[in-house]
Amino acid sequence: MNILVLVKQVPDPEALVEIASSGKDLNIEPKFAINLFDEFALEEALRVREKHGGKVKAISLGGSKAIEALRTAIAMGADEAMLIEDEAFAGGDGYNTALALSKALEKETFDIVLAGRQAIDADRGEVPQMVAQFLGLPHVGVVVKLDISDGKAVAESSLEGAKEVVEVALPAVFTAQKGLNEPRVPLITGVMKAMKVQIPKVAVEDLGLTKDVAAPENSKTKIVRYLPPKKRPAVQLIPGEAREAAAEAVRILIDVERVI
């Protein structure tokens, strides 16, 4: 079983994110992590390998710092890693990210692609399905259980309100949702190995793409500016002992806010 895992390096979920005074950039506290959902994808890849043999390769598109996410992948137990190094493609829209990743995947042999359900920076949840479409492969999204046997997969997909059990022939793309597994914590031996390993880098030109594809004037969608979230007015505390406060709260919801 050859398994590819798409991992993205993202700002730590706790990192401060502020809009720059120009309104056109973000100032993000430089704390990074592997995308939360990609950890579930990696863990699942390792479990499939443990059961069926084969290799796990982690692939990331990003700037030079994204190598850290790949080191984490190696530390967890991935056999190989590869960085597609290009800030413009990585910082672009989902379409360009998926285009570059799919070009890289075309050069690989694999049975399974595992990715995260969503990257927690841009919160798009587009790239794996787009990669699948570029490659002409099926995908199953938001997977909470995955069983592999006889060249096919049975995946449980957690759509809203219902769980769907889906069968699909391999190769196929799966996106990992929380609940799929508990990601392991890297062992010290893994961390040592990850520090020493040489991680190959490729440029988008090596994949048959040109840089101008990801230039803002050629992008299919682009960010014009950033806006702050709407601020809620200061909380209004409802006084009184429990029964009184409860009755007043109900009155407000019914008579003032008219929401129930």
């Binding site: 700002p11 973000l26 939360l36 959902f37 989902g94 379409y95 998926a98 927690i120 920076d121 919160d123 798009r124 949840g125 587009e126 790239v127 399905q129 787009m130 479409q133 570029f134 099926p138 995908h139 199953v140 999204g141 938001v142 049975v154 957690s158 759509l159 309100g161 219902a162 769907e164 059990v165 889906v166 069968e167 699909v168 022939a169 196929a172 929380k178 992008s219 299919k220 969608t221 682009k222 960010i223 014009v224 950033y226 806006l227 979230p229 809620r232 007015p233 909380v235 505390l237 409802i238 429990a242 029964r243 406060a245 409860a246 009755a247 709260a249 109900v250 919801l253 929401v259 129930i260």
Partner: protein, 326 residues
Amino acid sequence: MDKVLVFVETRGDEPRKASLELLCEAEKLAASGKFTVEAVCFGAMSDTLKGKLLASARKLVRFTDPELAAYSPEGYARALAGYAAETGARLVLAGATGTGRDFLPRVAVMLGTGMVSDVTGANWFDEPMTFVRPMFGGKVFAEIAAPASPVVVTARPNSFAMDMPEGVSGEYEERAAGALADAIHTRVVRVEETKGDAVDLTEADLIVAGGRGLKAAENFKLIEDLAAAIGGTVGATRSVVDAKWRDQADQIGKSGKTVSPKLYIGAGISGAIHHIMGMDTSKVVLVVNRDPNAIIFNYANYGIVGDLFEVLPAMTEEIGKRRERG
């Protein structure tokens, strides 16, 4: 005139709310005279459902291919993208539900165009069109311009008003996409309904959520009772899901679902940023916590500092009384 296609999701005899909201928005586009709008629907359609949809769209197109009876990302994407290409659509819209977010990215690639996911606002008349969408779990919003055509968009449920004018009565057309069987490589083996009839969290208007302050799984009865009293859906924090008190499907937050109800009531929840990220676009927020310094009060319109074991039952009872009085 520019063509707008709205993908309409249905469940039994009901159109999903996220789809109806988009049809309301699309009706405004149609009324402007700049756009023509078609609602596109797959799978079975009862007369009841048809009636509801024809009162919400000037034209309803249903694809009758048997391969579309069950959801498959490839089949749905092929049919929708094919029709968008054939009609030269300028805009392809769907609700940012699980299904919408799952297959619209494939539609975008098939059409060789860009997409904007999970938008909470739109300027349809700008050239190029611009959209607003949350990023970083709602810490910031981005305004996105989409110069490519068509534009593929998914819209977050509860972002557009449900205000269909009276008197819309659409025409109905049936079509076949054809040649889908070879395109579909996934097969649904079975569907397990986990939620019964309750409205799913992401589309719910009214949510009552509980956290670790509930102390034990069985105490969620207090949350369920209040939810039942107002006709709402139950939500939970991650700690509660990790403790197996509630199903993963109930989790609100960064690693769970994003909700945008008219009313969010939270009890026994501290207000960790990961939870807030999933609920901060709620319109009215009421929280109950016994700790006056709990962070969640910073994200609420109304707060009760008190013991949820007293406040929740009292609220449920009070709602019952108010209902009796009428």
